[in-house]
Amino acid sequence: MKRLLPLAATGIYAFLHLPLLVLAVFSVNSSRFTLWEGFSLRWYQAAFQDQQLIEATVNSLLIAAVATAAAAVIGTLCAHALWKKDAPIITMSLSLSLVTPEIVAGISLLALFQWIFRFLNVHLGLHTVILAHVSFCISFVVIVVLARLRTFDNSLEEAAVDLGATEWQAFRHVTLPNLMPAIVSAALLAFTISFDDYVITSMVAGVDSETLPMVLYAIARRGANPMVNAISTIIVLGLGVMILASERLKES
């Protein structure tokens, strides 16, 4: 088993990485077809000149950043409260919202927004996408942070309170600093989920709030397009750098 395990792991890693690696290699292929012709950056050039792609990327980053920040704060507070004492209704609802199929969440949110818009002169747009993303990111943050809190010693906060700190001060100066790695890792998870999301987003997005996944979906459905290889490679590299930075942050 000692020899078999690394072998199996290598195979699974190949399964996980080869498809993306192949995509990256063919993103610098000058040919439009799947045959290697020669090195060329023409597809990157095409992607960077595509106004629709740029706008969609800005939208996606903005949505993910705002939704992640909000979900990280709200989720951390909730996790801390649940750690002190369970609130069965909240826990149940969070679990349920976590396991709600995306298509159902998307359609129910669309139904809600359209119902509200009967009374208010508002339309679907970035704000509805951000609200939707916050709602589905919170459970992920709570899970990660709560799991970490459960490994904590409650007596630390109690000691701080005994020594004269208020509940808030104990949370702010004792628990929160120790919790930071978990919060960051939760936020990164939330960011990826938000940045990735297509199903819910496409339901609640307006005409002016197209996201990167929505544009990629449209291109992918139309058929082969080497420009997508180039965009994919940029995404993999960009987010890869982010992960490495976050790992560094966690270790320090």
Partner: protein, 276 residues
Amino acid sequence: MRRLRLLFLFPTASILLLLFAVPLGILLVYACMTRGAYGGTMPPFTGESWLRVLDPLYLGIVGRSFLVAGISTLICVVLGFPLALFISRSGPRKNLYLSLVMLPFWTSFLVRTYAWMFLLRDTGLINTALQSLGLIREPLPLLYNWWAVILGLVYGYLPFMVLPLFSTLERLDPALMEAAGDLGARPSQSLLRVLLPLSAPGIRAGAILVFIPCLGAYLTPDLLGGGRTILIGTLIQNQFSNSRDWPFGSAISLALMALVMVMLWIQVRRKGEPLL
């Protein structure tokens, strides 16, 4: 102390109420109404949409969705377990190896799905390579079938299995396996009778995280299955786009929610532990 706790819970509670409970309530009302000519719903209240959910045609789609999600989850366990075990035993390289699982996961789900389209389609890499090697003449029909959908689901959700499994395995004392060996267990025995039972919580958590998105999957069957693979998610989406039957779409959505809730309930009750 009590006041601070309530203050901490308030934002989450209001979001859950307004963006989760109320929307599902609206679907419940819609499911009991009549379809409008151009989408939307109309007043006469009826149970018609609920009866249509029980139509054998639609029950068949539900059954097929369960089968596809089940197979995908099973493959994720089979692939995820050795990988999580390997990572949990790799000492100082743990973080690196975990990052290597997360790296594809960080990529847009669409990119990963597109990567398989790029590999599997008739003019894709695999067919082109096999043809230029002279192994095949006609391209193999690799894309637009059930196995392509399952492959896409496994590829997409494998990290959801590896992460909880890893955190369970990491917490296990390696001495337990050594003790099993010292007491005469063969490696396969200590794997099946010590390691596997102890990692059950991680497998369960991972299986739920994988099974649910697979069951309601919409994107993967759409892109990798072509038009030939209708699952619950596709059926729901159709009611709100092409078919313009919001009441029926709402009824299927809630039926799917009910299935998910039953699974969650069984899981919580069997172990007596909450999901969070």
